[in-house]
């Protein structure tokens, strides 16, 4: 006779395997939007302010800087929408403003180049696994990685 606990254990293992296979099968599935993997949309304030939300292309910056520059030196947290960024801070040289100051990269007067997202696009890391699994729900700011 097999104990109940063993049966449940077996069932859980099987369910886990089935889940993983199903998941891997869906990971490469076509999604309606096709922006580049890793593109970050930040829409904490833009919609409310009547501005297009900014889209941050990770791939473009990755060609020019190592992750460490922004995520260690400039203090960007690894969380879309989890950094309290606003234009005042950027103009004062924080966050994007550390480079987008007319010295290292073009300056803030080119509003449209960052604020180029479709209005109403929610905060997200585009094409991320989490997004594929549970959709674009904005994470709570206090959530720890």
């Amino acid at each position: 006779m097999i104990e109940k606990g063993v049966l449940i254990g077996l069932w859980q293992k099987r369910a886990w395997v089935v889940m993983m296979v199903a998941l891997l099968a869906t990971l490469e599935v076509v999604s309606p939007a096709m922006a580049e993997y890793g593109d970050v949309v930040i829409n904490n304030q833009s919609d409310k302010a009547g501005m297009r939300p900014p889209v941050f292309p990770h791939w473009f910056h990755r060609i020019r800087f190592r992750c460490k520059v922004c995520h260690a030196d400039l203090g960007f947290k690894f969380q879309a929408g989890g950094n309290q960024i606003n234009m005042l801070k950027i103009i004062d040289g924080e966050f994007c403003g550390a480079c987008h100051n007319g010295e290292i990269a073009w300056s803030v007067e080119n509003c449209d180049v960052c604020h180029s997202g479709k209005p109403g696009t929610p905060t997200q890391v585009h094409g991320s696994t989490v997004q594929k699994l549970i959709g674009t729900t904005a994470p709570k700011p206090d959530q720890k990685p």
Partner: protein, 215 residues
Amino acid sequence: MQTGSRIGVVTSIFIFLTVMALPTVSLNAEEKGTAGVNTFNRLMRPKSERNQPPAQDGIHDPACEGTNLLLPPKEAFKSMPELQSGNYVDWVQALNKKLIQPRYDRKNPNEEPVIFELDIVREVKGTMPDVVYPHDRHTQWLDCSNCHPDIFIPEKGKNVISMAQILMGQKCGVCHGKVAFPVSECRKCHSKKKDGKDSKPAAPAAAEAPKKGAK
């Protein structure tokens, strides 16, 4: 005789029309790059649809002037080594082959990263090969403080990591599955064959042995 020939004529017209219609249907489908439900790998993204230019990528506003100033990713990725997922670019190889020269310091283009060479082997349950975590490839991009101690406690045995956590964007999933290669590249991490009998399907005699011992 007459009804027979009539049926014959009607049937041949029907067949003729069907045959004529078939190629046009499949041609239209080919032109669009999709053949509906009968496409080979219906749910996979074909190569032609990868790395779309900003104006067509779905999240950039094509009506925005700035969108048209942005570099299309395909142009930047032209000479880069390929990968089957993520950006479809093998970033580590691109860096090692010096196809890209990302700065380690915001202002100083000559500053070099401090490479830490230590492989961490994590023995995993189940049949998957063990995980080898290479510090060197990570320190090329990142600073120690990016991971330690907030995401990973720098002490052996202190970190519990599961695929479920990674899939939900925690632990390795803070980067892998967001910007670094996603979990569909199983073998990039699960790369060390288990020692001894676990590495291959065990011989029947060897497999039975533990059972007898358990009794």
